[in-house]
Amino acid sequence: MRIEAEHLTYIYGPGLPWEKRALDDVSLRIEEGEFVGLVGETGSGKSTLVQLLNGILRPTSGRVLLDGVDLTDRRKPIWKARLQVGLVFQFPESQLFAETVAEDIAFGPRNLGLSQQEVSKRVEESLLKVGLEPALFRQRSPFTLSGGEKRLVAIAGILAMWPRVLIVDEVTAGLDPRGKRDILTRIKLLHRNERATVIMISHDMDEIVSLVERVVVLKSGRICRQGQTTEVFSDEESLAGCGIRLPTIPQILSSLVKAGWRLPVSIFDVREAARLIAQEYHHGTV
């Protein structure tokens, strides 16, 4: 599904003393099957933007088109379009409520009016997609699961709606390293195998560069930079201006470059970085 945002502006509490322009004239285009990272300081408008993209919020001005259909058209019921954009909020596990994992995941599909058989099929399928064995998890209470498992169940609940776009907001925050890795692996597979369009919000630049192809950087409600990941993360100064620091490896490379080493900066793979640094060390001239 193609997403187009045109001149999106969103103001919280218009006319009130605490009025805040969270987004200011943001235009953006995301093609079917892309994996896009959305980054920016706290309060830069990331979460507001993704809530506009699935119609939870209506823009103060501007519009959102999903495959050309205007999500902000007040004359049309938008719920169908909204269902196609699955949004996984921060700490989605806090929204688990049912007595069993299967019931929790079934809630959304059932509200679509699907048959019991179809609902059960989607529950199984979604559990498999997030890597939880249905036989082991179906009947468990969500509250007996680990933090990482709970979050996977919450994601399965979104996937059971068959969204064509998956948006995840700080999906690894607060998880242990294993939970983190499981979730990121699942999202990578969803993107690769199901050709899902994925938008990922994260504060962890190492995580972003290991996954996404394209990055959009927000600063104070405006797009500050966007482009291919390698391109955006090659320029330390302009990124710093957007309140974003380089990921670990490019940061090290950049510091070496400043000290006179001849190296590229936008290398994210640690082995490749080691190869280039060693080469320059043994043969280069400083």
């Binding site: 504060h203 962890d204 670990t248 080691a274 640094i277 060693a278």
Partner: protein, 286 residues
Amino acid sequence: MTYEDVTPKIVLQGVSYCYPDSTASPVYALSSLTLEVKAGDFLCILGPNGSGKSTLGRLFNALLIPTEGSVQVDGMDTRNTALLWTIRTRVGMIFQNPDNQIVGTIVEEDIAFGLENLGIPPNEIRARVDWAMEKVGISTYAKHPPNLLSGGQKQRVAIAGVLAMKPSYIVLDEPTSLLDPQGREEVLRTIQELHSEGITLILITHRMEEAMLACRLLVLEKGKLAFLGIPAQLVEEDELRRHAHLDLPLAIRLAQLLREKGIPLPPFLPRPEELVRTLCALKRST
């Protein structure tokens, strides 16, 4: 013997903890742990979710009392309820979510809360609150309502609240896991300063980058001690780290690869800046 005569340290002797459970088989969150934390130490506790980290953290200041074995704080046994308040004043505690730890309507009132409850005279309270705010760098927000502060600022307010009680030890249970990169850096800088001024720290974290700042590391696995040693030692323990899902920080991994490629780097460089500095120095001397 008065308690002041004892060498200041926390001693855990054969500590086990079992959460009360209705089911027949008791689940031990911690089993037979013996440990000594001397004054001036900076101990970091690592381990996957459910390995017993938080249980251990809560045993240090008598929030939990061991099911078996004993915990002694400067010679005071935590089982002795008469000593409870002395122990808790001496061992401060910081939790993951700053929002759950803030009670005051403005910053300085929040920090004064604990002192007021101890019945400390007002002028002494004033002096200690000012001192604590100064220490963590939040003096300029003294009159601000805490809810308007950023996550990192709020967490520093919580730390100031503990600091005002003049504790000898501070236990921090994942204090940065919900913060953005800037907030994390603020909190880490603050706690490192506290350590350099002689406060003993016990830091529970999932982040290896943070763990590398500590003097000693303790890794828990299923409630048992899996490792206790200096950070440089853990870097060598490949098998253990793989097992406990503790990935090396990227900068340390890079240094390892560079050594394999014949650059004579010292075995342990915890921070990326040190790696860069050492590389440049080596390059100049070749």
